[in-house]
Symmetry: C2
Subunit: 290 residues, 2 copies
């Protein structure tokens, strides 16, 4: 696709699967005139149980695919990918790259009154310690309590959002968190906002829940506005989706996340992602960063 | 590795992750003198939520990797991969290839008295209809009731084998199955035998549970014995494991499945699997099936 200038280009956003649609939904709500290209790596989802090395490889491939389409901004919507690969991706591409950890961490620091913040996420996100590090970088006195909740993603994917199974699972995962006297809890995974009702019920009304998707969208609005990269009114807006597997399943589960009807979905093979990454690497070796 | 004759070669077995260890455990118990090479595709697990096309691609890559190591028999331990790719894999390699569907289906037909059989498995396995087809091919009068239980795999991976969360999940998934008057239930996923206690509690003592892992191991014993391919006593026995990601996680979760301590684990990149598949394809084009 050809664009007259950078501002007219779409925003690129990738996630391991459908989870990043919570971020996209907030971006569409705040910036309805922006075009977006979303890539869900549904042939290799979930990332949260994989090693950092593997998540980095997959993230670079996703990034190269989107950058090659012509985007003005790359958003890593996946917390796991943000936690382990943000700096590497930032160094790999010339365009601005945003993760989801920093906005969530900043919002938590602003929200906490007693200086005790909880973070829940996938195994890989929690193991990376990225949230704790980022929060303490902003304010070293804040105590961070972290806990992985591996079943939350499959529960959301199953559409079990507020039945007794998900409530019992939440009570198990959050039992220690409830005793730790936190007043703020970061939902450190793009799937978790869909479990807000249950998490609120378990944690009580006094604990503020930080939705990383909303914080991310606020952050994108700020960056595009301040850098003069908002879409010009005369450019037509489009919303395009790519997945590496099961477009029907993506559409069906995605509907739980989105207002958008997810019409324009194209399936691409994982191997085409890999090829794109190799091309990109070769271009890099030849001195030309994309 | 070089072997004097085919009988001395190891058995190759692959699964999307740790689940196939339930099959391997039964093979080790019945055939302790046999050497085995196990491949768990932990960088791309789970297969149960993927399209047939993607599962076939991954299965061919796994098969080519093991066949190239020198094996006398290839076992597809994963129900999903067996359901969608068995015939394609059989046509691709010269050595015997066994899946897990047929032995489970046969055992169910033998076990049922009222001609009503239930099957539970992943989304992909149930959608493929492979169990129902295979059971009705043996006896067309048998009524087959199928149901996918997507959360059972993540519950096992989380080590929640008999707490109240897994029991509630099982009661939800199996509610209709309980009313369907089946007398036999096939556990059509290699993870499910670990939930036997809960499934038995929910379904009641009158329903016979068919463990596809045990049926598979019986089948392997029969085939190796009848074809004279049992390991000769003078050949040293080894047990080798390959994974595409997270060897520590594989070992840790694998211990829930195995008596073996899973010592000899090597991590291989997904890309080396893909390369092996391409080499294999080229060899095939040149007229030489492996």
């Amino acid at each position: 696709m050809k664009f007259k200038n950078m501002a007219d280009m779409p925003i690129g956003i990738f996630d391991s699967g459908v989870g990043g649609l919570t971020v996209l939904k907030e971006i569409h709500a705040r910036l309805p005139a922006e075009s977006t290209i979303y890539l869900g790596d549904t042939a290799r989802v979930p990332y949260g149980i994989r090693s950092a090395e593997t998540v980095i490889k997959y993230s670079l491939e996703n990034g190269a695919f989107l950058v090659e389409k012509g985007i003005k901004l790359l958003i890593i919507a996946c917390n796991t990918a943000s936690a382990v690969s943000l700096n590497i991706i930032r160094n790999a591409f010339k365009i601005p790259v945003l993760g989801v950890i920093e906005p969530g961490a900043k919002a938590a620091v602003l929200a906490t009154k007693n200086g005790r913040v909880g973070v829940i996420g996938t195994e890989a996100t929690i193991q990376s310690g990225a949230y704790g590090r980022t929060i303490r970088d902003i304010d070293k006195h804040i105590v961070v309590v972290e806990r992985s909740c591996p079943l939350f993603v499959p529960l959301v994917e199953e559409g079990w959002l507020d039945n007794e199974v998900v409530e019992l699972a939440a009570r198990r995962y959050l039992a220690e968190m409830r005793l730790s006297n936190i007043d703020t809890l970061v939902l450190g995974c793009t799937h978790y906002p869909l479990l807000k009702k249950v998490i609120k019920k378990v944690m009580g009304d006094d604990v503020v829940l930080i939705d990383s998707a909303i914080e991310k969208a606020k952050n994108v609005t700020k960056i595009l506005t301040s850098s003069g990269l908002l879409n010009t009114p005369e450019t037509p807006t489009f919303r395009k989706y790519y997945v590496t597997d099961c477009p029907e399943r993506f559409q069906q589960i995605g509907k739980r996340f989105m207002v958008d009807s997810l019409e324009d979905i194209t399936k691409i093979g994982v191997s085409s992602l890999e090829e794109k990454a190799i091309e990109f690497k070769n271009a890099q070796c030849a001195g030309g960063l994309i």
